[in-house]
Amino acid sequence: MIVSVDTIKSDSSGFSSIADISFKTKDAWIDSIELDFSSCSFFEANMAAPLYTVISRLRNDLNIVSVTNMRPEVSRILQKNKFLSVFNQPDITDSNQTTLPFKIFKLSAGDQFNDYLDNYMKGKGIPSMSQVLTKRFKQSLFEIFLNATIHSQSESGIFVCGQFYPKKHRIDFTIADAGVGILENVQKYLRKPGLDSCEAIEWAMIEGNTTKTGNHPGGLGLKLIKDFIQINGGKIQVVSRFGYYEFSANDESVRKMNNDFPGTCINIEINTEDKNNYYLKSELRSEDIF
């Protein structure tokens, strides 16, 4: 079976294209799937993570997945970020060191995720961001990563990758899983089987809302990230099943995609030139907390 891959950018049409590949291959079982890149003139590196959600599902159903007809410029991007190693193609050294390479983590691999961020975010081509910005960014990525480990039930792990765009002063970092999706968790938690993906994502974005079971408060992670993004001038995209949500300082929107994205993907984009110090005007003391 040959499936065409279009130009994939980190926007709703890019996610929709990936969901379309998933739709076209949804019944594939012990088959051979060729992802034909001849119509793909550009592939934004961080979108390797959501594409892998489709590939992992296909491989889980014992399909042999291959990539063909990739233009050299696209291939170069995906070899630099080590994505093509999942097809046993050699990596290219990222001499500019602007890539946080594609990597698959097990659900219990929080420590390794930390090592990965330490390794690829220190110095190199990733811009020297202020210490507090780096910390906020890392904390945000951890909140997302941990959400995926807690909620996704993804059997194939968590897929991550990132890319720094020096001219735009932006880093995109993407965390995807091939799990159950936000919809299923929220439907079960609220006992509302009629809920749709957009409503489920909107619910999950509200401070204090969490589907985590047990007698714990929660639901702060995404709110904290939104607060950070608002000040930083960045952007967050949350894609899960048919739902596409985007938040930036200027805009908050949710829309239904035409096809079903097989899992959940969160992309966070930050402005690396941000000089905000993020501290409160008056420092909190221990006795102010409880």
């Binding site: 929080g110 807690i150 609220l190 749709d196 809302n209 408060p217 501290y279 409880f290």
Partner: protein
């Protein structure tokens, strides 16, 4: 008053990364035990390099389900947190107070009749 008992979080969980619910629960269990015994406790985050809300919800937020605000305020303090992590903890504590004071109706405001199909 005697010196508070210090809980060194990084030593207790054996890691500078305060990220997992399991480790948060480990810290919670120690605090719970000591509060029940009427002890004063200082939770030290020295040498912690990464702290996220998930961990704090379990380790500290959960206390508000078992103890009164007065007891927690009287017996607990924290040290070794940077200004922005203090702010994070404040968020967690405020969220926990809200959660336990309003637990049953927490989701009801959002529940409404719907019957969509995708």
């Amino acid at each position: 008053m005697t010196d508070p008992i210090k809980i060194k979080v990084a030593d207790l969980i054996g890691s500078p990364l305060c990220i997992s619910i399991e480790d948060g629960q480990k810290v919670y269990n120690k605090i719970e035990l000591l509060i029940k015994e009427g002890k004063h406790i200082s939770i030290s985050f020295e040498n912690v390099s990464m702290l996220v809300s998930t961990f704090l919800n379990t380790a500290i937020g959960q206390l508000y389900g078992s103890f009164t605000e007065d007891a927690i305020r009287a017996q607990l303090k924290v040290e070794g947190l940077s200004a922005d992590d203090m702010e994070l903890l404040k968020h967690v504590v405020d969220n926990a107070k809200k959660y336990y004071s309003n637990k049953n109706s927490y989701d009801e405001a959002w529940l409404k009749e719907d019957n969509h199909e995708e």
